[in-house]
């Protein structure tokens, strides 16, 4: 029984989900109530996780569940960004008539799945978490069921994701077959000698994970799903599954497969370079902001993976820092997107931003900051994210990766600049509504200030992250 106190957060969120389901079934018109309750339960969840984070590494349930610095940090940023995702989207789902009881419950179950993924120390537990989050995401993607694009994106995500899960499962079974265990630590002990079976296992598992993180060449679903899903779900897609998948990436590469880094390092370097270049080039021609941010997230995942390719603690920490800053930038960007509302209609094309700066100076300034930060221009937070990654990459003398990555930032700068050009240089259009709900304003203010003022005290995140060591 004493194990249960350590998984109190997971227990709490599971009970909340079931409770909210019951409330939703028996109480009519309770959608808004459940939405708010879910948000509160996320705050409590965050407090519970922070409460646990002072403890040392703890193995639970026959070593199949692990709570350590990595999982605690990842869960904190996961749940933290979950709260902000809920805050920013609350008005949006009311306006486009998505305020149903299932919506917050699906988000909570997805978060639960991600938490299990992050803490898993066993192939089976990991797969359970993965499926829980994926199933919730399939439904969320097609949540706006009267919309053709949304339905299409849900189906597309389901088919491709099921395929990748299949590959991943095949990889898991190969790994199990050749290392005689499903436990990560046990796999590490048993896989000291090189054999093709485990190598194939690694490749298949990496393919499945790369799909979840939308890295090239397994990115095809991302633009369509990002564009088709309701914007609040897109925001969810852009942040939370990425955190979970990156965490699992770190865990797989540095626990069960730590001895095989000769095998996987080349794969990660290739995926990373391909994502950086493809994301930068393909975004140039986009007209839809959500589609553009999909390509942008592909290239950002390339940078996060570059840190993992280094096989060093410095690299892992830089990746984690990268994803932390990336999520703040995405929150800020989508908050701006939620503000482009006129007569109960949300606008999401780049052209709709034309001349925004004349009537909406503060919103435009926030977008300016976010876009320059996404482009990695100093002194904004995005620069530091890239700086840490390249610091780690160059430490390992991987100059090719560093130079290609930095040249890709120049290409990427072009399309971010294009949006800034449209906001600031082009003739103005109609005004947008200026009254927004408080959650949205607070999220935008906090995230923009974070990005803008990051350079004053840049060691904040680094110090926390520096506790996470895998090697």
């Amino acid at each position: 029984m004493e194990n249960f106190q350590y998984i109190l957060p997971e227990i709490f969120i599971s009970i909340s989900i079931m409770l909210f389901l019951l409330v939703g079934v028996f109480k009519k018109n309770s959608a808004s109530l459940i939405y708010n309750l879910s948000n509160i339960s996320l705050v409590i969840l965050l407090a519970l996780i922070i409460n646990l984070s002072s403890l040392d590494t703890i193995y639970l349930f026959n070593d199949s569940y692990l709570i350590d610095n990595l999982s605690n940090y990842m869960k904190i940023i996961l749940v933290g960004s979950g709260i902000f995702v809920m805050l920013t989207g609350s008005k949006y789902i009311q306006v486009i008539n998505l305020n149903k009881i299932e919506y917050p419950i699906l988000i909570l179950s997805s978060i639960l799945g991600m938490m299990i993924m992050i803490s898993s120390n066993d192939l089976i537990v990991f797969y359970m978490g993965l499926e829980l989050q994926s199933l919730a995401l399939y439904v969320l993607a097609s949540f706006n069921r009267d919309n053709l694009l949304s339905t299409e994106s849900g189906l597309k995500y389901f088919v491709l994701s099921a395929l990748s899960s299949g590959l991943l499962l095949y990889g898991c079974s190969l790994t199990y077959g050749f290392s005689e265990s499903t436990n990560f630590d046990q796999i590490l002990i048993n896989s000291t000698e090189f054999n093709y079976g485990t190598t194939f296992g690694i490749v298949f598992i990496l393919v499945g994970l790369a799909f979840k993180i939308s890295a090239v060449p397994f990115h095809m679903w991302a633009p369509d799903v990002y564009q088709g899903s309701p914007t609040s779900v897109t925001l969810f897609f852009a942040i939370l599954p990425k955190i979970a998948a990156l965490s699992v990436f770190i865990k797989f590469l540095y626990t069960p497969f730590a001895n095989m880094n000769d095998q996987w390092q080349t794969i990660i370097v290739f995926i990373s370079i391909a994502s950086m270049i493809f994301g930068a080039v393909a975004a140039i021609g986009q007209k839809n902001l959500k589609r553009l941010i999909a390509y942008s997230s592909i290239s950002h995942m390339g940078y996060a993976l570059a840190g993992l390719a280094t096989v060093s603690n410095q690299g892992i920490q830089s990746s984690i820092t990268y994803i932390s800053i990336y999520l703040v930038m995405n929150l800020a960007f989508f908050s701006c997107l939620f503000m482009l509302k006129r007569n109960d209609k949300y606008y999401e094309n780049i052209e709709d931003l034309s001349g925004l700066s004349k009537k909406h100076p503060i919103l435009s300034f926030s977008l300016l900051i976010v876009l320059f930060s996404l482009a990695g221009i100093p002194p904004l937070a995005g620069f530091f994210a890239k700086f840490y990654v390249f610091l780690a990459v160059i430490e390992q003398s991987m100059y090719f990766l560093a130079i290609v990555g930095l040249l890709a930032t120049v290409v990427a700068a072009f399309y971010y600049l294009r949006i800034i050009k449209i906001i600031y240089f082009d003739p103005e259009k109609e005004e947008y509504e200026t009254s927004h709900n408080l959650g949205l304003k607070i999220t935008l203010a906090i995230s923009t200030i974070f990005i803008l003022a990051y350079f004053i005290y840049p060691s904040g995140i680094t110090e926390i992250v520096s506790k996470i060591t895998m090697i």
């Binding site: 100093p378 390249f390 610091l391 430490e395 930095l406 600031y424 240089f425």
Partner: protein, 446 residues
């Protein structure tokens, strides 16, 4: 002002822990950087005074952009850590991009993008180099790096990476093409900032980092810099001769003047480097003044084409006088700051390589040719264009700004002593370190 003269150390040093203990926020000034900081703080108020004529919309935003720009520029000139330097160096792109893009002319979008992407592309390699330096030596603190030195085998590549960034920013031939575009499309004040301050970052960087950190590589690549500088001087002077647009002409003349600067720096002589610094300050004042002068007639007549003007001396006598001083300053007439800079640079060059110096001297003649021809076509000649007759002479604020520039150009032209005193010790120190490193390297090879 309170700087201790003849001291080679950095003063007013501020050193704070910044990036989780391994990179410090370190700023400080010496005799060289103080001049550039004073130049920056001198030009910015002039820009702000001249703003009300050229900027009609969104004045508030424009002033914010200028002041942010000033902050970053001062940061560049006083940072004593490579990462901090890079931070300020790159951050300057943001306000300048907006200044060109929002308040610029017809092709402003193209120019702003070209400016941004060119300079960004140049700079990213410098970032790789800076991080490499960190892993090679364990620090990015400039003062510590001066002491430690960087192993000879790394220097060439690192030097090239820094060079790619500085060459774009200087700008050197053949990566100078962003400059004419940016100048032509930027508003008057933007051009002034660009010419007077932004272009100086790279020259400053050459002295402080290329020479200071990579002496052996600098020696190896001297010939490359000579050739590029000479091409810049001769080729862009010829191009400037053929320009129809006043701003473009001055922009090309800037490239030629910066060619002198890079030439002077890489002569590695006391005169050459002092001349380069002097030339940069002089160019900062003169080009700012020239762009402001173009702005004066542009606001009245709304064209920058040279052949639309002529005979302005009869209706705008005051303008003719100040414009003449600036023209003479640009072509390097004795008695103006331009002369001292070019003279010292050529002296330094003669000491090292007579052929290079002779070709560079040709540039002085060409410079005189295009500047005087510009002056003749705009100010002298028959006053036979009807639409010009209504043009008014200088307004009060224009007199203030332009005379604020005339005075230092003439004063330091006759009496360069204060500037020279300021830089002498620091330049000497840089050169001593440079020669010391070279000798050490030769000794280690034997």
């Amino acid at each position: 002002m309170f700087l201790i003269k003849n001291s080679v150390d950095f003063q007013f040093v501020e050193n704070r822990e910044w990036l989780s203990g391994f990179i410090n926020y370190k700023v400080g000034i010496d005799g060289i950087s103080i001049l550039f900081i004073i130049l920056t703080t001198f030009i910015t108020p002039i820009c702000i005074i001249s703003v009300n004529a050229s900027i009609t919309n969104r004045l508030k935003d424009f002033l914010i952009a200028i002041l942010i720009m000033e902050t970053f520029m001062i940061g560049v000139f006083c940072s004593l850590d490579l990462v901090v330097f890079y931070l300020f160096f790159e951050a300057g792109l943001i306000p300048m991009f907006l200044i060109i893009g929002i308040w610029g002319g017809e092709r402003r979008v193209y120019s702003a993008f070209k400016f941004f992407l060119y300079t960004l592309l140049g700079s990213v390699l410098m970032l790789v180099a800076i991080i490499s330096i960190y892993w090679i030596t364990g620090t990015t603190d400039v003062e510590k790096l001066y002491e430690l030195g960087i192993q000879a085998e790394y220097q060439n590549l690192l030097w090239l990476a820094f060079f790619s960034s500085f060459a774009v920013k200087t700008p050197m031939w053949p990566v100078h093409t962003w400059l004419p575009d940016a100048h032509v499309e930027a508003p008057t004040v933007g051009s002034v900032l660009l010419a007077a301050i932004l272009l100086k970052m790279a020259g400053y960087g050459f002295i402080r980092f290329s020479l200071g950190l990579f002496p052996i590589a600098s020696e190896n690549f001297t010939m490359l810099v000579y050739v590029l500088s000479l091409i810049a001087i001769i080729y862009t002077s010829l191009v400037a001769l053929m320009q129809e647009d006043m701003k473009k002409l001055i922009a090309y003349s800037s490239v030629a003047h910066m060619g002198f600067v890079t030439l002077g720096i890489f002569t590695m002589t006391q005169q050459g480097i002092e001349g380069s610094i002097f030339q940069m300050i002089s160019h900062g004042l003169v080009s700012a003044a020239l762009f402001l002068s173009v702005g004066v007639v542009y606001e009245r007549h709304h064209t920058r084409l040279i052949n639309k003007y002529g005979g302005l001396v009869s209706i705008m006598p005051r303008y003719a006088i100040v414009f003449m001083v600036f023209t003479l300053g640009a072509l390097g007439l004795p008695g103006t700051t331009g002369f001292i800079g070019e003279f010292l640079i050529l002296m330094g060059a003669f000491e090292k390589n007579i052929l290079v110096a002779m070709i560079a001297s040709l540039g002085v003649i060409l410079g005189a040719a295009y500047m005087l021809w510009l002056f003749k076509r705009v100010v002298f000649g028959e006053m036979n264009k009807q639409e010009l007759k209504s043009m008014k002479d200088l307004k009060t604020f224009e007199i203030i700004t332009l005379s604020a520039l005339v005075i230092p150009i003439l004063f330091f032209g006759f009496y360069p002593e204060p500037l020279m005193n300021s830089i002498e010790a620091s330049v000497e120190n840089t050169l001593n370190m440079y020669n010391f490193d070279l000798i050490n390297n030769l000794a280690s090879k034997d």
